[in-house]
């Protein structure tokens, strides 16, 4: 009894508010997965995703213990009060027409700084919508010097970001969300990851020798329960790579992990709670034996992904039977019978953008939107950010579908301010079924100031890609996503309504030549003018001021003696 009293007191102390020193550090978990998809054109796409979820309220508590969640990013979030961060670096272009819609789409470089409220984890539709509860406190605006935290990003991701212009906030996105129109010339030099589990496959020499590679970091808060009383932070690091069949497979469509990455999987990551490889075997037909996957998978996963029903073979690295027998896992796919050379299926939505016109004064920017669905029309949100030095003439904006004019349901235009802000053009366009819609606008090229030109101005200037967001009707109805059980690639853009799926496409970035002055001109002009002036004025001066005297010949001199010698030889009187 006497002993129980201090014990009870101790227990009370532990449970009381002062018991923080004995509380556990917030739980965090890491899931990694690799999805290998053979594309209709014969290339192979590999998508890596590493998701770290951390049950901690970063902005309310002072956090000092970081385990799986990187400290650099955690400090960035708490210092600048970020709610969401999406950063991606891409080299190459995703050819939607030939490869189909991707899981994770990204333009060349895009920073999306989101200050919206939290996304519910119980399956709200597209992640661009806000949840029902408004934020309790107004979040501070970006700091007065908007370049402060992008500079920290440049070192964290070892990249160069060249931000031109002010942060712009598209009207259709939730309030507080702003994005930076980044010049798509940032280059990501290196990335550091733990060398265990799936990251063993990430070696720069193979990954950069590809048709397309894109690395992205997405940080967002997710609700921990239905009422969203507490949040946890989710960090997704993704890498999408498309291997050219010709380079890796020497013309054949067979592939293996070793041939693509020049490495095989040896062991699962010890910190990961889940480590899986998914291989798309939708074209596998039991009777026809079109392809063979080696080693044979233990389980398969079937679901409606991006509107079509797909089957995936699952290789779980945490399953001891998988790795044990051979100490390394090299997944191979061989085509038993070469697939019939049928035309690849055309995705329902794809787009193209180009610049037309001639000369260095004017031009026209055209975007072609293709809706290949046979009978369904759907709306598309088109967002264009054009730099200020291409002066758009909005009165020349024309949208035509099937030859007739198509008036957009919603249009928002924010004109550019020289050297401060780019043009922002947002439109909601209804694409009729089975049609091509052309959106075109004319522009004029501006002359920059001498010092604003880059050291290589004749390369041209980049125009950021346009963003298309749409809910594309799916062929097969999808069921809602289970957040814990479903694979990561299914839960990035979850569907709430099974009849359509969300797609965000980016068009090509454009390279536009501005009227570039000849930088060597001042030097050349100065040299030429000085020469001409010297010659003309010199001659004129000589003519005006030179007088001629007769000079008495002086005796002596070697030349004279020589000349006299020659004269005597000729018989002419000497000098």
């Amino acid at each position: 009894m006497a002993a129980a009293m201090p014990l009870a007191l101790l227990v009370l102390l532990l449970l009381g508010p002062g018991g923080w020193c004995l509380a556990e550090p917030p739980r965090d978990s890491l899931r990694e997965e690799l999805v290998i998809t053979p594309l209709p054109s014969g290339d192979v796409a590999a998508t890596f995703q590493f998701r770290t979820r951390w049950d901690s309220e970063l902005q309310r508590e002072g956090v000092s213990h970081y385990r799986l969640f990187p400290k650099a990013l955690g400090q960035l979030i708490s210092k600048y009060s970020l709610r969401e961060l999406h950063l991606s670096f891409t080299q190459g272009f995703w050819r939607t027409r030939y490869w189909g819609p991707p899981f994770l789409q990204a333009p060349s470089v895009w920073i999306n700084l989101g200050r919206s409220s939290v996304m519910s984890s119980q399956g709200s539709s597209a992640p661009l919508s806000t949840s029902s509860t408004p934020p309790t406190q107004s979040l501070p605006l970006p700091p007065s010097n908007p370049w402060v935290w992008p500079m920290t990003l440049t070192t964290t991701f070892c990249a160069m970001l060249c931000c031109r212009g002010r942060w712009s906030a598209p009207k259709t996105s939730p309030p507080g969300r702003s994005s930076c129109p980044v010049v798509p010339r940032a280059s990501l030099i290196s990335f550091h990851l733990l060398q265990a589990g799936l990251s063993v496959l990430l070696k720069a020499d193979r990954l950069f020798h590809t048709s397309y590679h894109s690395q992205a970091v997405h940080i967002r808060p997710v609700c921990r329960n239905a009422r969203c009383t507490s949040i946890s932070w989710e960090l997704r690091q993704t890498l999408s790579v498309v291997f050219d069949a010709f380079i890796t497979g020497q013309g054949k469509k067979d592939w293996s992990l070793f041939r693509m990455f020049s490495r095989t999987l040896t062991e699962p990551c010890p910190l990961a709670s889940e480590s899986r490889v998914y291989v798309d075997i939708t074209t596998y037909n039991q009777d026809n034996e079109t392809l063979e996957v080696h080693p044979p998978p233990t389980t398969t996963y079937q679901d409606v992904i991006l509107g079509t029903r797909k089957t995936y073979a699952i290789y779980d690295l945490l399953d001891t039977a998988m790795i044990n027998n051979s100490r390394n896992l090299n997944i191979q796919l061989k085509w038993k019978r070469p697939p019939e050379n049928e035309a690849p299926p055309v995705p329902f939505l794809h787009a193209q953008r180009y610049v037309s016109g001639y000369g260095l004064q004017k031009g026209e920017l055209s975007t072609l939107l293709y809706n290949t669905h046979p009978y369904r029309a759907f709306p598309v949100l088109l967002l264009d950010t054009v730099p200020w030095y291409l002066r758009l003439y909005v009165h020349t904006l024309t949208i035509t579908s099937k030859g007739k004019e198509n008036k957009p349901s919603y249009i928002h235009y924010q004109p550019a301010q020289d050297r401060l802000q780019p043009h922002l053009l947002e439109m909601l366009i209804q694409l009729p079924a089975n049609s091509v819609t052309k959106v075109s606008i004319q522009f004029e090229r501006a002359l920059l100031k001498w010092t604003e030109y880059t050291p290589d101005p004749n390369h041209g200037f980049y125009v950021s890609p346009s963003v298309l967001s749409a809910l594309v009707p799916s062929m097969v109805a999808a069921k809602p996503v289970d957040w814990e059980e479903s694979p990561l690639f299914n839960s990035l853009f979850p569907v709430s309504d099974g009849s359509n799926y969300f797609v965000r496409l980016y068009t090509e970035p454009l390279l536009v030549n501005l009227p570039t002055p000849d930088f060597s001109m001042p030097y050349n002009v100065i040299c030429l003018t000085c020469t001409v002036v010297a010659v003309c004025y010199g001659s004129f001066y000589n003519l005006l001021t030179r007088t001629f005297h007769i000079e008495e010949p002086r005796t002596g001199g070697l030349a004279k003696r020589l000349a006299n010698l020659i004269r005597r030889a000729r018989g002419v009187p000497p000098l």
């Binding site: 920290t152 440049t154 070192t155 160069m160 030099i189 290196s190 050291p455 000349a563 020659i566 000729r570």
Partner: protein, 402 residues
């Protein structure tokens, strides 16, 4: 028995006395060593490696800088102490047949890009302004730490620059230049900040290596103490490139840096090679140009300066199990202050060489140039002029001359 006892006792007493005396001698020896340890030269190493040319055909300048980066990292200087500036991206250039690699030896023997390169200033950020800001420390407060040169007055700094240059200037990115006078002034600003405390962007000793055409002109104007400079060619000479690679299609390295890289590959953190060996690295037979060096501003004799003093980060570690009683701080501070004062007196005559000796320039005699007989072009030109003259005015004028 008693005698042996007393003898043995005396022997032990003598032994203990001897031991104690040895001990005290050893102890004082260690304290001397400790004092020596705290007063010796530099405590940390920094490196600033700059490549100033862009475009694919200047692949060799990027390869030069990356090979020096590689050696410096291998010998111990961490990435946080290296400021690497590359003006163009060769590894991910669309014209690179082997992406994510930069080779320094032909047949792709050595990939100097590696897996863990950290470039601090890249592409358009490599400008004269940024370079001078890094050296003098006048960078905007939002600059991340990896982009700063946080040296103090006990840092040995290695500065390596490569690119296209001329007599007295170095070209940055085909659009601007840095002159030798600006560079000398920047180093003098670093020297002046020595009196400040903590991260004062100054240096203890500085090694400046430049691999450009007419590189020796860049170090002609230095006037701050403790600078040693090396250049790949003299004024009037061009630095040549080493070897083209038929697969990549460009020249991979410059000669001087190629042989410096070969020399550095044999250095490890424990080697005792000194600067005199570095001066001999590329003789005229291999390099075609004449490498030059300048040591008159340097206090120590080059043969006492180890390569690892600048290229590596060799920490002085002395392990002892003794307890050392250090002298009071004031004594060490006083002695070091006195030393500095003496150094000042010694350095006065070297410190401020005339930057622009106007009197000399006005009154200087023209340099005697070697007389070369006129070449074929000049002779042909004059023959043409004379022929035209006589054709125009007639041959009759000849006889008034002869």
């Amino acid at each position: 028995m008693a005698v042996t006892d007393s003898l043995s006792r005396a022997a032990t007493v003598l032994a203990t006395v001897l031991l104690l005396s040895f001990g005290s001698v050893a102890a004082s020896h260690i304290e001397d060593q400790a004092e020596q340890f705290f007063r010796s030269g530099h405590t940390n190493n920094w490196a600033v490696l700059v490549c100033t040319s862009r475009f694919w055909f200047n692949y060799r300048h990027v390869a030069n800088t990356l090979s020096v980066y590689r050696s410096v990292k291998r010998l111990g200087i961490p990435d946080s102490h290296i400021v690497l500036m590359l003006a163009d991206d060769m590894a991910c250039n669309p014209r690179n047949p082997k992406p994510a690699t930069v080779f320094s030896h032909k047949n792709m023997e050595l990939n100097v890009y590696g897996d863990d390169v950290e470039v601090d200033y890249r592409s358009y950020e490599v400008t004269v302004e940024n370079f001078l800001r890094v050296l003098t420390g006048r960078i905007p407060p939002s600059t991340p730490r990896s982009k700063r040169l946080l040296s103090d007055d006990r840092s040995n700094i290695l500065i390596y620059m490569t690119g296209h240059g001329g007599n007295g200037f170095l070209k940055f990115q085909d659009s601007e230049e840095i002159t030798n006078i600006e560079l000398a002034d920047a180093f003098e600003q670093m020297w002046q900040k020595r009196r400040c405390y903590h991260f004062s962007f100054s240096y203890n000793e500085l090694l400046f290596i430049i691999d450009t055409c007419q590189g020796a002109s860049m170090y002609e104007r230095f006037y701050s103490p403790n600078i040693m400079a090396l250049a790949s060619s003299q004024v009037g000479e061009d630095s040549l490139s080493h070897q083209p690679d038929p697969a990549i299609g460009v020249h991979l390295m410059d000669r001087y840096t190629f042989y410096v890289l070969e020399f550095l590959e044999e250095i490890n953190p424990a080697s005792q090679t000194n600067m005199n060996d570095l001066f001999q690295v590329c003789p005229k037979s291999l390099c075609v140009s004449t490498p030059g060096h300048r040591t008159d501003l340097f206090q120590r004799d080059p043969k006492n300066v180890l390569i690892t003093d600048f290229f590596g980060s060799v920490r002085k570690v002395e392990i002892t199990t003794e307890t050392i009683k250090l002298q009071q701080d004031s004594e060490i501070m006083e002695s070091s202050y006195k030393e500095d004062q003496m150094d000042e007196k010694l350095m006065e005559p070297l410190k401020y060489a005339e930057q622009l000796p106007v009197a000399q320039i006005i009154h200087q005699k023209p340099k005697l140039k070697d007389w070369h007989p006129p070449g074929g072009f000049i002779l042909g030109l004059w023959a043409l002029i004379i022929m035209v003259f006589f054709k125009t005015y007639g041959i009759k004028h000849m006889k008034f001359i002869f």
